[in-house]
Each structure stands twice: as structure tokens, then as C-alpha cells.
């Protein structure tokens, strides 16, 4: 093990544990554990939302895509930044205001209150979708942490997965949302440092901007599509490619682990600064990640078998050991900042939506926090058990297969219904249920039909079907008993 790389990395892990212990003292109520008592400031909200929304995919997957596909990867960055921009400027202010009025702690909580869901069906469906999609997502992040740590430090995959997930579990269980949000800040800063340093140092090594393009042009002489934004496609092929790549951005409004950040900020007015910080962070990080892949193409003479390893490979080759240690910490940060947020979302779905609301249990506030910690630990151990069951030689197994659905599945289940529920008062409970079921079903069916799956990323049809079904069913069903705007005004008046 190279000590130069290990020291910055171990310092980072120690910082996370310290944050977990500090946050433990601040976490006394149920609201604290799952929403930090709605007391987050602008910067913490911005960086926490960004670090949570971009997983290991940002530092491993996107550079890998740019490395193998070329300039076409810029379209993914465009879609993702557009989705982030819409989330901050369009969705977040309204969601914070409405969930604050309805006193909703989770996304199923919001749906249940918004649609006056006395039967509990809407709450159960949305909590189930979260539990299914998110648990596999958490497990996949644990697999990724084992893979990354194992490769970087030459330790056994299972030990590496246990260390990575053990640290995540410790601070999430101890400090709840406070710990997750504060560690997200550290993680977001590390990620953005890595994504600025790597392209800058890489381009300097290659002789600047011109040197980069000349080296790439030489390296890709037999692959002309690499240096074209059209990626060698024409007509319908080009159109479906662009819609699929940019369409990834449609996923942002439907991710509960991102949406809870908007719900936790101290006020809607504080969101303004968060939007500014969040969007600038996303621009730097996403375009930086694409540049890392292009720089790697210019620097690496041998193509790795797994293009997703180009970032750690270039870091070790290009940077001094201590800086490479920071980049490796940043890769782990990307994985951990997503896993911890998802862990909390699944835990809240079980404790708040099933135990507390569906089964009508009313334990003392102290016991509720204790239960939340136990459930968080149990879900984490379940995720770890799945991760340990994966063959380390072939980690792209069942878990990653499920993850492919997770982003698209959550986006199609919740995105259209959430947007319509916030902006169209005629949306009904029946429309919401039909939209969630049809959206998730479309993603699963589309993905399993080879021809369709190759034609277009399943999120786009899933999102459109859910949107259409929610609108049509809402039109034909009876409007809900509760007028949403009326309810809001009444509560406002009641609060004086």
C-alpha cells in the first residue's frame, strides 16, 4: 500500500466518522434524523443535493463514456445540468413550500397528504417503489466501494466492501440527516477538486487545449466519430441518440434522495443561493468529468479493459501520490454521498410510511429515533449482504442490473406525478397511482425488449407514459375532496 495515497484517504475516512459523532449530539427528534429539523443553510443544501445526486457514475462512468465514445458524452453533461437547473429553479421552491405546509417528512408522506389518501394505497405504493429501487441502489454503491477500495489499495474485495459500507453505516446511523448533509459538503468539495485538477494537470501535460485535440485526433484516427458531436450518426439514429442522452436529465425531478434536500432547507428564500451554488457545481463537475475522459484518451497509450477505471488510472499515473490519494478519496466520496442519502430515504420509507403511518404506531420521539437508527443499520447490513454475495471478478451482476432500472424507474415512477401534483391542481389520487405504476412498468418492459432498449433509453418512454396516464386518469376520475390550494391557504390562516 502506498502511504502517500493512503494518508489523505484515511484522513478523509476519519473526518467522516468525526462528523457522525458530532451530528449524533444534534439528532434528538424524528424530524432531525430524517430532515435535519428543516434547518439546513444554503451552502449545505446546495452541496448536499449535488453530492447526493451524482454517484460513483460521475467519477467512474462518465469519464469512461467520454473515453470510449468521445465528444458524444457532452450531451449527457448537457442533459444532467439542464435537469439540475430545472430542479433548483422550478421544482425546489414549490416543493419546499408545499411540504413545509403539509408537514411532510418523506415523498410518500407528501403524496398521501396532497391527495388526502385515507386508504393508504398511494403511500404504500410509493414507499414500496422506494424500498425496492433504492435498496438495490444502496447495495450497488457498496459493491462499487469494495471495487474501488480493493483496486486502489490491493485489499480483498469483501474486506474493502465491509470497510466502505461500515464507515457509511456508522455516520448515517449515528448522525442521521445532519451527518449525511455535512459529510456531503466534504464529499462535494473533494469531487469538484478532483474534477478540476485532473483536466487542468492533464491538459498541461499534453501541451494545452491544442495539444489535447491533436493528441486525441492522432489516437482516434480510425474512429472519426470520437471527435464529432454527431458520434457518426444521422437521421433517426442521431435523434434517438440525442433524446436518450439528454433525456437522462428527465430523471432529476423523480429522485427522492435529491428531493429531500429541497425539503430540508430552512426557508424558500435560502434556495436562491443554493440554486446558484448547485448549478455552478454541476456545470464544473459534469463538464469536468467529460474532460477527464478525453484527457485520459490522450494520455493512456493502452486502453484498459474496463473504461470506467480510467480516472483512478490517470490519477495514479499523472499526479503526485498525495494528490492521487485525494482523487481516490473523491471517487469514494461520490459513492458514499449517494449511498448515505439513499440509505436514509429507504429507512424513512419503512419507519415513517409503514411503521408510523400505515400501521399507526405512536412510539415516544426518543424511541422513534432509536428505531430509525436500528432500521438504517438493518437496511445497510442487507445491502452489505447483497454486496458480499457478488462475485468480485464479475461485480456487474444482479445488483448492477437492478441499478440500471433504479434511476429510470424512480424517475418514471415519481417525476411526472410529482411535477403534476405541484403544478396542476386537477391531478387526482387515482391519476397519481396509475401514473406511478405505468411509469415503473414501462421502464421494466422497455428495458427487457432488446430492440426498444437499443433504440432509446427507457427513462424517456417511461416518463412520457407516466405523464400521459396521470393526466388522462386524472381527467376521467373524480376530483379529490381536498382542494390543494384551499388546504394550503387554510393552514396558512390557521398559523396566523
Amino acid at each position: 500500500m502506498d502511504l502517500g495515497i493512503a494518508i489523505p484517504f484515511l484522513t478523509y475516512l476519519a473526518a467522516l466518522i468525526l462528523v457522525g459523532l458530532l451530528a449524533y449530539r444534534k439528532t434528538t427528534t424524528f424530524d432531525d434524523f430524517y430532515l435535519a429539523g428543516r434547518k439546513l443553510g444554503s451552502w449545505v443544501t446546495a452541496l448536499s443535493a449535488e453530492a447526493s445526486s451524482e454517484s460513483g457514475w460521475l467519477l467512474l462512468g462518465l469519464p469512461g463514456q467520454a473515453f470510449s465514445q468521445g465528444l458524444g458524452a457532452f450531451w449527457v453533461a448537457l442533459g444532467c445540468v439542464a435537469g439540475t437547473f430545472f430542479n433548483w429553479t422550478g421544482l425546489a421552491p414549490r416543493l419546499r413550500k408545499v411540504t413545509g405546509l403539509l408537514n411532510a417528512i418523506t415523498i410518500p408522506d407528501y403524496f398521501a397528504e396532497r391527495f388526502n389518501d385515507r386508504s393508504g394505497i398511494l403511500r404504500i405504493i410509493s414507499a414500496l417503489l422506494i424500498a425496492i429501487f433504492m435498496t438495490s441502489y444502496v447495495a450497488a454503491q457498496f459493491v462499487a466501494s469494495g471495487k474501488a477500495l480493493g483496486v486502489c489499495f490491493g485489499i480483498d474485495y469483501k474486506i474493502a466492501a465491509a470497510i466502505g459500507s461500515g464507515v457509511i453505516l456508522f455516520y448515517t446511523m449515528m448522525g442521521g440527516f445532519f451527518a449525511v448533509a455535512w459529510t456531503d459538503v466534504i464529499q462535494a468539495i473533494l469531487m469538484v477538486i478532483a474534477l478540476v485538477v485532473m483536466p487542468v494537470v492533464g491538459m498541461a501535460r499534453l501541451g494545452g487545449w491544442d495539444g489535447l485535440w491533436q493528441t486525441i485526433a492522432c489516437a482516434t484516427r480510425s474512429q472519426t466519430s470520437f471527435v464529432s458531436l454527431r458520434v457518426g450518426k444521422e437521421g433517426i439514429g442521431l435523434l434517438t441518440f440525442l433524446v436518450g442522452m439528454i433525456g437522462i436529465g428527465l430523471g432529476y425531478p423523480g429522485q427522492p434522495h435529491i428531493l429531500t434536500r429541497f425539503m430540508a432547507i430552512k426557508s424558500t428564500s435560502a434556495l436562491r443561493k443554493s440554486a446558484l451554488v448547485g448549478v455552478i457545481w454541476a456545470v464544473i463537475a459534469l463538464y469536468g468529468a467529460v474532460l477527464v475522459g478525453l484527457v485520459a484518451k490522450g494520455l493512456l497509450t493502452d486502453s484498459p479493459a474496463d473504461p470506467e477505471r480510467v480516472m483512478p488510472m490517470v490519477a495514479v499515473e499523472l499526479l503526485p501520490a498525495w494528490l492521487a490519494g485525494i482523487v481516490i478519496a473523491a471517487i469514494m466520496a461520490a459513492i458514499m454521498s449517494t449511498a448515505d442519502s439513499q440509505l436514509l430515504v429507504v429507512s424513512s420509507a419503512i419507519v415513517q410510511d409503514f411503521y408510523h403511518k400505515t400501521f399507526k404506531r405512536e412510539p415516544s420521539p426518543r424511541n422513534l429515533v432509536l428505531l430509525s437508527r436500528v432500521v438504517t443499520l438493518a437496511i445497510g447490513l442487507m445491502g452489505l449482504a447483497i454486496a458480499l454475495g457478488v462475485n468480485p471478478e464479475n461485480p456487474v451482476g444482479v445488483v448492477f442490473w437492478l441499478v440500471l432500472y433504479a434511476w429510470g424507474g424512480l424517475a418514471s415512477s415519481f417525476g411526472p406525478v410529482l411535477l403534476l401534483s405541484l403544478y396542476w391542481r386537477r391531478t387526482t389520487r387515482q391519476g397519481a397511482i396509475a401514473g406511478m405504476i405505468s411509469g415503473s412498468a414501462t421502464v421494466i418492459i422497455w428495458k427487457n425488449i432488446g430492440f426498444l432498449s437499443n433504440l432509446l433509453y427507457e427513462l424517456v418512454p417511461g416518463f412520457l407514459v407516466s405523464l400521459l396516464v396521470t393526466i388522462v386518469v386524472s381527467w376521467v376520475s373524480k376530483p379529490g375532496e381536498v382542494d390543494f390550494e384551499g388546504l394550503s391557504s387554510a393552514r396558512l390562516q390557521a398559523r396566523g
Partner: protein, 32 residues
């Protein structure tokens, strides 16, 4: 790489940053 390709790439991040700064300033006006 052609100048138009470079322009198409460079304009994307710049446009987003300009747009969010405009949003920030506009909402500030509204609050006052």
C-alpha cells in the same frame, strides 16, 4: 476539431452559468 464543434461545446456551460446568475439576480429583485 472544427471551430463550430468547439463553439457548440463551450457555449453549453457558459449558457448555464449566465442563466443561473440571471435567475439569482431576478429573484433577488423580487424579494426586495
Amino acid at each position: 476539431m472544427g471551430g463550430s464543434t468547439l463553439l457548440a461545446i463551450a457555449i453549453q456551460p457558459i449558457a448555464f452559468i449566465v442563466a443561473i446568475i440571471i435567475y439569482y439576480l431576478k429573484t433577488k429583485e423580487k424579494q426586495h
